[in-house]
């Protein structure tokens, strides 16, 4: 129904609020006095509660409400921030996230028991409540009641009519069995003397027994303090009762403090409209677009490029200056259109990176290692499809860095390193690639251990092992089931994972390289294509067949004398600028039926896979072209050396070589 349309909005916005909460809670932990952040957090929780409520997601609203209560106390300065409180808030946030994920997945709330986390949140409040009790006996404006203007107004009115406002705090005995019923009796007793205008927790929560042992109320009564106290004392199962008249000056001072205390907030008030203004301006300039519509746009651009290639091809039948000019113009416009559409699909990698401070915080707490996360280049833009996929492998690498890489603080000090370990996440553009680096300053990967394990697991023979380069050895950690960890921890070390990281990255057309130095740390370098569907490619011929090689993986094109090919341990190599690099006969690798051309000179394409180079021999070069990558379909998905196919201007289908798998 029309709920569906709000649903999308709800999902989008709640995701944003969750992320906001997450980010700001992390900031709050670092800067407990930052009122702006507290207000921001409170607003997010509040909005989330409102949205969930209006969608009928009761559990979400309920939990958000419970969080809001805690946040409100922090906001009002009634409560400080400490690690325990932050832990509870983070836990609540995770549960909230889970609930919202359920909504995203199944479109409705998965009713879940949240009483555990709710009582933890209340515990946080009550914990400070008890502390407050001692210090704030004379400071009613510090009590745990969040009275608003309306309440003060009611109190004022009541005082004028001869009522006296009281603040009553009741603590039940721990042995009390039916807390809600007992509270009801207390409420009833108070109502005999006047009216209850506010309670904490709310009357509903008390009724549903959603409170610890204490609750407090503000009531206006036409009775003396002692009379009320005597009456309440007669109720059994009550530990103690704290009852106090609220003085008119308390209300005033409260009001004043409302105005005075947020003096920084006063300036805040000046900035909020400004921020809002800015927000509404950006809101006016940007719109949300369904990713499917963008995909459709991208597909149309792809079609356009295919037909452009076709027209370029037809140019030879009508090779006039006017035709050439038009075709060139068409080419330029389609290229620009492609760029423009691609840019629309690009979003800053920030959206992925911003999840990680939280991950690092938790890992650092669970491993007892101190870790600082540095994020660089979060503004680097990357295709939307990659954004969705890259988070998981990155989390894995970060986990590994902290669990295996970073040493315990004492160990670090003994090594002369700073006790706090550093994990760095860095993103930047490099030509047609996006590079993401995950590095740590930990102990590094033990090459000998990796090699020993690789031999043990029969991944390589003892003889072959001797001739492997450091890079080749490091690549073993990506083998399924490979682990050098002696003990399995909660976080990593079961030997599953690194292979998944590699597979995932390769499925996006990327590569991973490792750089590791003993005691200096490890760096994973992930290279991903900027876009997944349209690329520049070099067309090469192999006999009758044509293949496309992505320009992004080509370093150079050369002609080398046939005699320059050297044999090393049954493998062919050529000398490329003083470096021996593998020589791959493409005709053989591709099982070409046609006899490979033989002559004095061999045309080779020097390709790169991350840092590694290789030379591919080809029969001929056809030229460079913008091509649209089309998948090969599931029946051929096992063939790794092709990343897909493309359709040329003349309708012919040409395979695109996947250099990452060929080399």
């Amino acid at each position: 129904m029309d709920n569906a349309q709000y649903m999308k909005l709800f999902i989008e916005e709640s995701k944003e609020h969750l992320q906001n909460l997450n980010n700001n809670l992390l900031v709050l932990e670092q800067q407990p006095d930052n009122t702006e952040v507290i207000n921001e957090i409170f607003r997010s929780a509040h909005t989330l509660k409102g949205m969930a409520g209006s969608m009928g997601f009761k559990t979400i609203a309920d939990l958000a409400h419970a969080m809001e209560n805690v946040l409100d106390r922090i906001r009002k300065g009634n409560m400080g921030v400490n690690v325990e409180i932050m832990d509870v808030l983070f836990e609540a946030l995770d549960i909230l996230d889970g609930l919202i994920q359920d909504v995203i997945q199944v479109g409705m709330e998965n009713p879940q028991d949240i009483s555990g986390i709710k009582s933890k949140l209340e515990g946080v409040i009550n914990g400070t409540n008890n502390k407050d009790l001692g210090q704030s006996a004379q400071k009613p404006d510090k009590e745990g009641l969040s009275l608003d203007e309306h309440h003060f107004h009611v109190i004022d009115e009541a005082v004028k009519n001869g009522f006296t406002p009281y603040y009553i705090e009741v603590k039940l005995k721990e042995t009390c069995l039916m807390k809600a019923a007992r509270a009801y009796i207390v409420f009833k007793a108070i109502e005999n003397f006047g009216h209850i205008i506010h309670s904490h927790p709310s009357a509903q929560d008390i009724e549903e027994e959603k409170f610890g042992l204490s609750f407090s109320v503000v009531a206006v009564c036409k009775a003396e303090l002692d009379t009320i106290k005597k009456e309440l004392d007669s109720i059994s199962e009550i530990e103690n009762i704290n009852i106090r008249e609220i003085q008119p000056h308390d209300i005033k001072s409260r009001n004043q403090s409302e105005n005075r205390k947020p003096q920084p907030q006063g300036t805040d008030r000046g900035t909020i409209p400004e921020v809002k203004d800015r927000l509404s301006k950006t809101a006016g300039r940007s719109i949300r677009v369904d990713i499917e519509r963008l995909d459709r746009l991208m597909n149309l651009v792809s079609e356009l490029i295919i037909i452009k290639n076709r027209i370029q091809d037809l140019q030879r039948y009508n090779d006039t200056a006017a035709m050439a000019e038009s075709v060139e113009y068409l080419g330029r416009v389609t290229s620009e259109l492609h760029d423009a559409v691609m840019k629309v699909r690009m979003i800053p990698i920030q959206t992925v990176f911003e999840r990680f401070p939280r991950t690092v915080r938790e890992l650092s707490r669970s491993t007892g290692k101190e870790v600082k996360l540095n994020i660089l280049g979060a503004e680097t833009e990357i295709d939307r499809t990659i954004i969705d996929e890259i988070g998981e492998p990155l989390i894995h690498l970060i986990r590994n860095a902290i669990d295996h890489g970073i040493e315990a603080p004492q160990e670090r000090v003994a090594l002369g390193k700073p006790p706090v370990g550093a994990v760095e996440l860095k993103a930047y553009h490099d030509g047609d690639n996006v590079v993401i680096e995950v590095s740590d300053d930990g102990r590094g990967i033990d090459i000998d251990k990796v090699l020993k394990r690789a031999v043990q697991q029969n991944l390589v023979s003892r003889e072959e092992a001797e001739s492997l380069t450091q890079q080749e050895i490091l690549q073993f950690i990506f083998e399924p089931g490979f682990s050098t960890a002696e003990k399995v921890t909660d976080i990593s070390g079961r030997g599953v994972g690194m292979d998944v990281v590699k597979t995932k990255i390769e499925s996006m057309g990327g590569v991973v390289d490792i750089d590791s130095r003993p005691n200096q740390g490890t760096r994973f370098i992930i290279r991903l294509p900027l876009t997944l569907s349209i690329i520049q490619a070099l067309l090469v011929s192999m006999g009758q067949e044509v293949y496309a090689i992505p320009i992004g993986s080509i370093k150079e094109i050369l002609e080398v004398p046939a005699g320059a090919i050297k044999m090393v341990r049954q493998k062919e190599f050529i000398d490329y600028r003083g470096l021996l690099i593998p020589f791959i006969r493409l005709a053989k690798a591709l099982e070409c039926p046609d006899e490979a051309k033989s002559g004095e000179l061999v045309t080779v394409v020097i390709v790169k896979k991350g840092e590694r180079l290789a030379a591919l021999s080809v029969d001929g070069l056809i030229g460079q072209q913008e091509i649209v990558i089309k998948p090969l379909g599931k029946a051929l998905s096992k063939i790794k050396i092709m990343s897909g196919a493309t359709i040329l201007g003349d309708g012919r289908v040409v395979l695109i070589l996947d250099i990452n798998h060929l080399v």
């Binding site: 079609e303 295919i306 067949e545 690798a589 591709l590 099982e591 070409c592 039926p593 089309k630 998948p631 090969l632 379909g633 599931k634 029946a635 051929l636 096992k638 063939i639 050396i641 092709m642 897909g644 196919a645 493309t646 359709i647 309708g651 012919r652 289908v653 040409v654 395979l655």
Partner: protein, 147 residues
Amino acid sequence: MPKSSELKQYIAFEIGNEIYAVDVLFVESIERMAQITRVPHSPYEVLGIINLRGDVIPVMSARRVLGYEEMPSTDATRVAIVRYDEYRIGMIVDRVTEILNIPHDKVQWGVEALDGKRKGVISGLINLGDKPVMVMDIPRTLELLLN
């Protein structure tokens, strides 16, 4: 289970002198033969990929799937575009003959006409008087390609 008397449609095609049929629900369209680009390292049954109105799809040879000798294509050669699960693949046949309307209980199920690797590719037999029609099991055929 379909009701026994329910009519089901099959597309019948020829390979050599024999007639085979596939459930029409698996067939998206029947196309003329197109130029095939060979794909290295592909399964024996897959001849390569074709351009189907801007989409790239793999094609397999029904001759190879059913254990016949490969033959050059003719004017009558057709590609049946078959769809099942996430698969979309062309199946090259010698000639498409007709569409059959057959009650479910007129098909003799559980016939195993082929052995070894191709076991299960033929799942039923329709006795149509002069010549029996062999019903191909498309899911099983596609599984065969993957393994």
